[in-house]
Amino acid sequence: MQNKLLSIQEAVANYTWDGMTYCNGAALPVGSCSIAFGKEMVKQKRKNLNVICHCGSQQVNLLAAVGAMDRVEVAFSGLEVYGFAAGLNRAVTSGKTLIEDYSNGAMALRFFGGAMNWPFVPTNVCICNDQQWCSADYPDEYPCERKVPEITDPFTGKKYGALRTLKPDVAAIHVTMADIYGNAIMMGTEWNRFEMSRAAKKVVLVADKIVHTDCIRQYPNLVRIISEVVDAVVYWPYASWPQASPGLYDSDEEHMFYMNKMMKTQEDTDEYCAQWVNNWDSHEEYMALIGKDKIEKISQTETAFLMDPYRKWILSDAEIRELQDRAKE
């Protein structure tokens, strides 16, 4: 097996490009998401992105706010109790970003279909409603017949819809822990990360913890993302911040509201990026920016006990640095 550890800068440089179809996981508005990876994409000035996600999250909010996103396919674009996603909403209402709406169930089916390498999946949702009739790709066709075309069950004659399946260029998937080869364990719900990891052409894991492969061999049933489909592993503790990572940290309530407020205007977005996105290179600088007190506060999570079985296999920063150097050889 190949040691796939890669710095966040190299991972974004090697696996993202302008105009690509990019997919972020788990894309949960309050939970797990590869947010640090999205910030690095902003730093490296990626643009004209076609983004696919079932939910919005602060990553998509930011990519939209900076004007990096031409199009998004999504089921839920908000931040739940933290409010509507201000950056995304600004990009959508101004016409900068086209938004194609589906349901969360439909997005899961579309990833599943992509993983199967099928052209479409039959659906009983996103039919007979505006998710079928309204298409941002074909705005002058209402009701649109090309987005979720009607199909007939060959056995019963009953009508269904056909959902276009998803095979994104790259998925950057946040996981709780991974080994250096790309075997990963996720705490909390997977959402679509299992299907997404099989549907995407390339997969980059963004892991809060790196564990020894003995941990993977101890809990093989829990290893839902496998090294066979993973291209790179980025070690980045607190990668989901200001959102949460079950078992490790809660969402940063203060920063969630603050960040969203700053995404409302271009001017404030620029100010936010200057301070919180473009102001770090190393992980030490990233941690210093969040601040020691904040790190301590969000780490006191009620979910901490979930990590108990795995602690003895978690590698230290020094061990990981050595492995990162070895990966370059």
Binding site: V30, E80, T93, N104, N124, V125, D130, T189, N192, A244
Partner: protein, 263 residues
Amino acid sequence: MEYTKQEFMAIITGREIKDGELIILGVGLSMLAGYFARFNHAPNLKPFTEGGIYGATPVGGLPWGIECNRLSANATSFTNAIDALGFLVLSGRADNAVIGAAQVDKYGNVNTTGIWDEPPWKTGHYNPPKVRLNGSGGASDISVGCKRYLIMASHEKRRFMDRVDYISSVGFLRGGDSREKCGFIGGGPAAIISTLGILRPDPQTKEFYLEAYYPSTSVEEVRENTGWDLKVSPDVKMVPEPTEEELKNLRAVDTTGSLRKKG
């Protein structure tokens, strides 16, 4: 005992939830109504979220989202969206759900996607909305698959419309048998619980009518705040005020008082 409109709405919604039901809950009021019901009268309720969190009870206050650590802290299973929204909801297995609405119309269609000056169904064009909302999330799946579901909405004329700008989650479409023609496995919305009263669908026309109103309001006030000519049940009733026990049980879930900050 004093209470807010939102608290009352959550309690009324909770009263509609039966013990033993397999129920999918969303963030905010939906979760509060569901967990209130479990504390109050439905100890065997089986709640889950659309990402597949099973067997959990919120700790430390209202969860910030359906995957918030306040809920992930004591789950019996974490699965995924294909399981929760596919195997349990779109398959027709889930009994009940509670969804929210920015706009709802006389046939129980829900809009949570956007607000237009001239909506797509009027202009024949899908232009960017004036206001982007959140999209449907899993509510669209719930509207298709759950045996029945409850809609919670703030009762205002601009929200209770003859026809919503955009159908994110299907109710009874244009009434009569129009939902049936789509072949959905689920039964559709069983009630709209608003900040003023309880509306139910007419069995034939599927148009929602006023079944009951809250002690703080009147039939006239409910009708004035409804964007269509709201029919009133001949046996229209006043909903009984929440009991102290009910408020106590609601506040045991809403420990951070999120429902007491508003209105």
